[in-house]
């Protein structure tokens, strides 16, 4: 991708108009290209001029009072939770490793069971949103469906008709965030001859921060940043 092409995409991206594939390619390019990153940031800042041109309108006073009160409570909780965390760590140390190891296997099984149950619940939850990822040029028949639970910040992704990955490679799912320049890895997975796979993602950025998702083929076990721009499936997250 040339600098001119990246700038052109950056201009559209600042308005939320870049396609998923373009947004991912741009994110990868700007991760290692300082002039294009600067151009991307300048386009984003330039659009804010449109907002700053509006006549300011003071919001109602009650809203400020409500907001400040909730922030004050959060600040208190933040301080309290630090002490609680410290106390919990101390208690765990007292509890002792022997007891901990005896119960760890049971806990692991219970956690796995709970995870399966909650994944099933995620598929049917009322607030679950779905995002479709379409097969790209390299794998046009492939597809994926993301079941996103914004309130619990997690997702389950099912992939279909992806080519089987070579033994020395893994597929890697990337999230393009609105608030971060580099793509964020959301997980590594393998695909067998059936072409199907699924992964669960925890601690997702909230829905409005996710701009797009895409899958690349990477060295076994995954990498910190994508090493290529050949997407197998990709899609924009509806804002």
């Amino acid at each position: 991708m040339t600098h001119e092409e990246t700038e052109s995409i950056a201009a559209l991206d600042a308005l939320g108009l870049a396609g998923a594939g373009d947004a991912v390619v741009m994110a990868m390019h700007v991760a290692s290209c300082i002039p294009c990153r600067r151009a991307r940031d300048e386009y984003r800042r330039a659009t804010t001029l449109l907002a700053l041109d509006l006549e300011p309108v003071p919001p109602p006073r009650e809203l400020r009072e409500r907001l400040v009160e909730s922030v004050r409570r959060a600040a208190t909780r933040r301080r309290t939770s630090w002490w609680l965390s410290a106390a919990a760590v101390f208690a765990l140390a007292l509890f002792g490793w022997r007891e901990f190891n005896t119960r760890s296997e049971l806990t692991r099984l219970q956690q796995e069971n709970a995870k399966l149950v909650s994944e099933m619940a995620a598929l049917g939850a009322a607030d679950t949103r779905t995002i479709a990822l379409a097969g790209q040029e390299i794998a046009p028949r492939a597809s994926a469906k993301v079941f996103l639970e914004p309130n619990r910040r997690r997702a389950v992704v099912f992939f279909h008709d992806l080519p089987e990955n070579p033994g020395d490679k893994s597929y890697q799912l990337w999230i393009i965030r609105a608030d971060q320049p580099e793509p964020m890895s959301a997980g590594v997975f393998d695909v067998t001859r059936s072409g199907a796979a699924s992964i669960s993602i925890e601690n997702l950025p909230i829905a409005t921060e996710i701009k797009a998702l895409a899958v690349t083929l990477e060295p076994k076990g995954g990498v910190k940043q994508p090493t290529n721009t050949e997407f197998y499936v990709a899609g924009n997250a509806p804002m």
Partner: protein, 189 residues
Amino acid sequence: MNTAGASAATYLPAVARGSVSAFEAFYDRYASTVYALLLRILANADDAQEVLQETFVKAWTNAKMFDSVRGSEIAWLISIARSRGIDRLRSRKIRNTREDEAGREVSIRSSFVDHTTGADRAIQSEEQRAVRSALAELPDAQRRALELAYFEGLSQTEIAERLAEPLGTIKTRMQLGMKKLRDRLQAFQ
């Protein structure tokens, strides 16, 4: 002038450390600007107030993620508000009611209480003048296309339909408009 350009952070480092008074100052400085944006996007005071609250809560929780190298505090805040505003606009499908709601805003606005200080107001009006002069050089047709994307979240195809212009014309217009806007930003910093 630090309106939309990169600048040193004024409030957010203290907000990130949990300072409620810094958050209050941050709110007083920028809430009017963000609220105007949300009213423009949503054309509904209730929705705008809800999203304004969400925006500032997010600023409070994510203040440590603010990077002054990438832009100013207000640019960061505006990008959060705009993203959430468009999200709300789309999810509630309120586009069709924009015309009906517009009249309501006038009476609601008159009951607002302004917390902005005299100094803040002076800075705001100085910034406003600079922004106005920067945007004055943008041809109306380019500006209209950019505004439809920015404030209403329309795609280029939807903009072409709305303005009854060929898609190619709209694409060219938007690229030229964005280049000009970026040039103005550089001159303006």
